[in-house]
Symmetry: D2
Subunit: 464 residues, 4 copies
């Protein structure tokens, strides 16, 4: 799956509490580095220095935003961090998270992954009662709600606040004495708890634990609030009555292959998706190749199940993130080749199966097939490790609107014709569920069954 | 008056409404450039592009924060701008102004010059009712108050809000349809109105009008709100019953010599201060020299009145703003010389009068006298164009606390001895008032009579 | 093969002549982008604008050094470019190439890949006759020689100059009317010619042709000079009597898998190296995994030959190039994990074969094996797709000195023990040659037979 | 005298030898800071660290090019530095000085102030014998000549080399064991020697000595070479038979007022120029004002001699160096006002004398007079503290060509009419010489008598 006209994840969150030697910000920096694939637009860290929260945010990758000198100035035993790709809110420095505020109870920092679907209504209500908004993120709404005057301690307020939110939110929060994690009742986005020495870590994905040397304990449950402070971990549920709706696209594409989500390693699930795909859509071919790196796991499974030899047919340029491509003709022509180059010696005169994890508009897949045929491939068979992507996502994935999703308006036959493919096979809903080994998923992008109703405004934003 | 251990002004504000060709941001850029002496820490512009406000802020001089490309992206017919030196709030990017927010009535941008003295109380009250604060500036408080739910139109809300503020505030505001100027009831900080073609401009100082080619109309009156929109200028007073307390230090030092404040050009006032000083503290000397450039005007007046020839005894390095000086011994020795160099041929064997506009800690003046004597000056007589600076300012001037103000704890005789000066003369209160030609001044830094009571918190902050 | 304590290639060169629309610099930019893996320290382009050469160089990746605005200012129909990793000369801006000079015949720009082994002697000779050196690169020597007064035309001078050079050099040159390519008589480093529309391109590797849409024609032959100008391509040999000594490490590791070198695609050669390795060192195991991405091709071959299933056992972090790692303990521990993370679900309770392309000091391989065993691997068998690396390279590969090459001083048994591997197998010399399908190689790093004698100075530099 | 269409000095040089505590680069940094007015385009320092020369150069002011960290990496007891405004050679990073090279005798760094008038001929000769040029500066020529093979020690070579140069050159050089200063036989550009502790300093102007705490000893004599090393100072003359031709424009405008040149402080000379001007061109007026800061000294002299009161009529914006002005109409209008603003209260209804140090094209002076009259000045009398500038300079001053020098083609009456001035008076040649108190001057820009013949090429360059 590649950058151009493809979905991108909204954000990654990380937090650490109770580590020695004031290394919380350095650990968070590495945590963000492991989560970098979830957001490359901005990065930020807020640290607790002797009870006072302060931080640094900036546009770009974590490795660009944070210098050794900046990290040295962020000393402390607890910290939270955030990497962001904007799905709501425009792309500017003010929207970088964590958001750090002062309010009646003191200081509070928050990092948010996911999209709220009642943000506009909440914002209208808050503005009507006097709130001002300095960012265009729906995350700021959460803080305003938390700051509403309210009887009860912080835990009560948090419970009440989170009950008012609709949609997807995996949150890390930092206060002068605690780190808090919380996850929406459907559990759209992942959030995991780990142990690091005497302290604790929170992260969107477990791959961040591996890097910082933490041990994965468990995931934060949908509807759960976890408060970590000097009394240890304290957990309660702000809502338990909702049906789970884990984003199945985390398995299909988002999460790193080495992350564990809902108890299973994504690589293993993807390999199984590939096996299932080979069962459902067998083909007589010479080699099967991946669209690297996101298609690697499913391609391997397809090869194992089908017995068709696995091959490397595309070579990836690892420096692609740093290239600008402006719209002169010569550069447009290079656009698709700049990331992947075909290996003609591998595909020439071969019947090739290419396994990928989605077709969004179809134009990128088309270009790839054109390149393969130019390189001499005799046949090109496309296999997709999930059902056709037909509907936009309102819970945090940057899919385009239906108008631009080719599968929303075209049959598989029409898409096959458009792609000039020799055959095209999508994994079935059942096949996908079987491979993913569960039933608690949000699959709205495939079947249009949105588990949480959303405001008209959310649809309108998506159309813009 | 120089950078090291001397007071620095808090901020400069600028605004323009109704100019053609979408040049509002370019005009604001030049306006900020003319006001740059009022704040070099950060700069920002918010522009109205077809009813939508957006902007850019950054750390540094206006000429560093704004590139031609950034200005091109800020197209519009109206804009406000701000240059800042932090007197409240720490020195960081989040505190750069104008502050731009969304609230119940839509978008609002605000730029603030001056310090509120009841900001902590207001902030506590606002937080108690649910407000969150994302900056550490007292200016954010004003926006929160403006956003409180309230019957009435914007003008009513503004009136009510400004009545709640205590202290110094000269404000420019921008909404999707108007530009607003307002000044506190005492009129501590300046704010002037000008005409530019069919449009209007607001600025902290009239020197900004000269640069952008606007015509000075009048000052915004203390307690006045000026609303400029397509109906023209509309003015009303939110408070008229307060005694004026114009900051007399704007005359003594702050404002540029070519700015008109309270009807008088600062250069002319300063020249008169120098004349008065010569009358009060005559001296038998060969030459009179200025501490350039701030002392130039008073020195000229002193020379004219006394008949002692004016001379250039110090040469100023114009690149000083760009030099770092770190604390190795060799560099500490250069610290005072890096800005001004003595002309030995001018002062050798001469009885020299040196005119300056203040003595804060005394160390800088002492270094200057040492340099003059090393260069061969036979006598050095110090003349200060205002009374001894004895008390801190809580209305926006970054004077140090009393502990570090030499005149707060020492007699003129003691200061003379400390400076090893042959004589020292301060202008009297009456002499100063006479030269400034008015009586509506805040002179708290000289006499400790603070025209507006302030919170304990304000004093505490100043002590930090 | 990874960044830490592993060899890195010196440079990549690119050139284009005779393209329309003044796009030579843009095409060169993309060419450098495709060659970026050959040098990330600095990048540069010199363009011919209406007969006048000018250029831009800078530290960093091509995508960082060149902005759209800079490229727009480099208009022309011909250009050469260079990416550099310093093997000789220190790492600073002055050493960035192409070098552009004025001399008696006018302007000349040069880009160089490879190391000269008689640079010191030539430099001494040149200095003795009056040359001054402004860089610390051996490439500057070539220009000085070219500028020596000499009867004959440029082609003659070039021939005479290149005859005096010893060692590795693949050169692109630009003059006001021509583009020139040349390659040392042994052909250590690659250099290829392509056709782009009516014009020509030169590149270190053919993968650059694929990206810019050029057609690969042939390689520049060892000892050949190719002059491209409005008369077309003109070729002659400055030396034909030398035995070829192509760097076999280009096949093993350096070149991108999709590049064609000596007539063969590197991926295909590497796959064959893996097959050969499986034949020589069979093992009873459950899975074979690659060290991605450099080990991918050989691993696939190993799997195909041995029948042991190919698996993904390591996940690579694609943002690693942008991370700083400073030497606190916590960060040192992350150093090896920051690039690759083990997939425990894949290796747990498995007998694992890991295929890599070299062991330099052994410490990185050791860390990998430790990680695999921590993740539950029952056995770890290491297979290396080339013979033991025993000797430093003086022709442009940044191998460490023998003291730090583990295979220089230890037997395979000792290395196996050091790595705590269950078995270790290196490919034999014959096996390597068989897979590479030729005999015209420099294999000095494996057998110490240096095809071109080198100065004592070269050894001394390598030891520093 | 101001930046727009006015002459600008080429360069400033500085050097220090034999200071303790490895502070040579810090001292040089401050030396450059004091000389910053002589060149703002680039800055550089080369330091001797234990016998090895290395350095750092960059575009911009010294305070921008050097950070504390960079200076820390330039440890040593000797160093030379350079600030540059390009008069020859284009404006780019490669041309920044000091130039540091390796050649047969080892390392050599050189900083050059002045223009050679036989650079093209030397360059042709050098290129003919094989030299390559990597910069477009004439300074590089000097190094090439120094590097020519030659019997004798460095001192002999230097003598022979300098004898071949024609034109203006004040040089500082650094070798692993010495610092060298040299000045052309006519002494066009200044160069002074100072004592700092046990060590020595060299500088273009003595104001640099004041800042670093050095004691001014004497000027380097025209035609003199000064070699400073552990044996102390050694001096000899490479040429003694030339008539001195000190650039009189150093007195008129270039040098800082506090610098001593040819035994006299520039401020004192300028004040005398003003006195002389008042004698030659008396006028009945109310006030005399300066064009700050360059006209200050002459204006004071004019006031003292004439008895017409000195006043401040223009206020200077000290941040002007940091402003970009792009060519939209609104900005063009601001161009002249952005640096200086008129004080209407000072000039209204007054007969004003304005003293300046030159009229180049006349357009800036015209704008100033327009501004003064708009501000209400009744009469404006222009007095210039030197004769009409009629001829270009080929020795290092960036005057435009005759075509654009208004006085080259127009009589004083015509210029008066062009300026719409009420009167215009230039100081006479004799008056200027009298004030400058000598006869050893180059006054070619006034009388066209060029003391050193120049190549056609030099004229051609000036015309470009």
């Amino acid at each position: 799956m590649e950058n151009y006209n493809r979905p991108r994840e909204a954000c990654g969150v990380f937090g650490v509490y109770g580590v020695d030697e004031e290394l919380a910000s350095t650990i968070t920096y590495f945590g963000l580095f492991a989560l970098q694939h979830r957001g490359q637009e901005s990065a930020g860290i807020v640290v607790n220095t002797n009870g006072k929260l302060h931080g640094h945010t900036g546009m770009g990758l974590a490795g660009e935003v944070f210098t050794p000198e900046i990290l040295r100035n962020l000393k402390g035993n607890s910290a939270i961090g955030h990497v962001r790709y904007s799905t709501t809110g425009s792309s500017n420095a003010k929207n970088a998270q964590p958001i750090l505020v002062d309010y009646a109870r003191g200081q509070l920092a928050i990092g948010h992954n996911g999209n709220l679907v009642n943000a506009r209504a909440l914002r209208d209500e808050l503005e009507a009662s006097g709130s001002i908004f300095q960012t265009t993120t729906d995350s700021e709404t959460i803080i305003h709600l938390l700051a509403r005057p309210c009887y009860g301690d912080f835990s009560d307020v948090l419970t009440k606040t989170l009950r008012r939110l609709r949609g997807a939110f995996s949150l890390t929060m930092l206060t002068p004495d605690s780190m808090i994690g919380a996850r929406d009742p459907q559990g759209f986005r992942p959030l995991a708890i780990g142990k690091l020495g005497d302290g604790y870590v929170l992260a969107s994905e477990t791959c961040a634990f591996d890097l910082v040397g933490a041990e994965f304990i468990r995931e934060v449950e949908p509807g759960e609030i976890v408060i970590i402070n000097e009394k240890g971990i304290n957990s309660h549920f702000f809502r338990k009555d909702r049906k789970k709706a884990l984003c199945i696209f985390e398995y299909i594409y988002f999460s790193r292959p080495d992350s564990i989500f809902d108890g299973k390693t994504c690589h293993v699930v993807r390999r199984e998706l590939g096996r299932q795909l080979a069962k459902e859509h067998p083909v007589d071919a010479d080699i099967v190749i991946a669209v690297p790196d996101s298609g690697n796991s499913a391609t391997l499974g397809f090869s194992q199940e089908s017995g068709i030899p696995f091959e490397f047919g595309f070579i990836r340029n690892h420096y692609v993130g740093r290239t600008f491509i402006s719209p002169t003709q010569v550069e447009r022509d290079m656009k698709v080749k700049v990331k992947l180059n075909v290996l003609p010696d591998v595909v020439r005169d071969k019947r090739v199966v290419i396994v990928d994890d989605s077709i969004i508009r179809g134009t990128t897949t088309l270009s790839r097939i054109v390149e393969l045929k130019k390189a001499g491939a005799k046949e090109v068979h496309v296999r997709i490790s999930c059902p056709p992507t037909k509907c936009p996502c309102f819970y945090g994935v940057d899919f385009p609107t239906s108008e631009r999703l080719i599968a929303a308006n075209h049959s598989v036959e029409e898409i096959t014709a458009f792609l000039d493919a020799d055959s095209l096979g999508y994994l079935s809903m059942n096949g996908m569920l079987k491979a993913c080994g569960g039933k608690d998923f949000c699959m709205a992008c495939y079947d249009g069954n949105y588990p949480v109703p959303f405001e008209e405004q959310v649809v309108k934003n998506a159309l813009e």
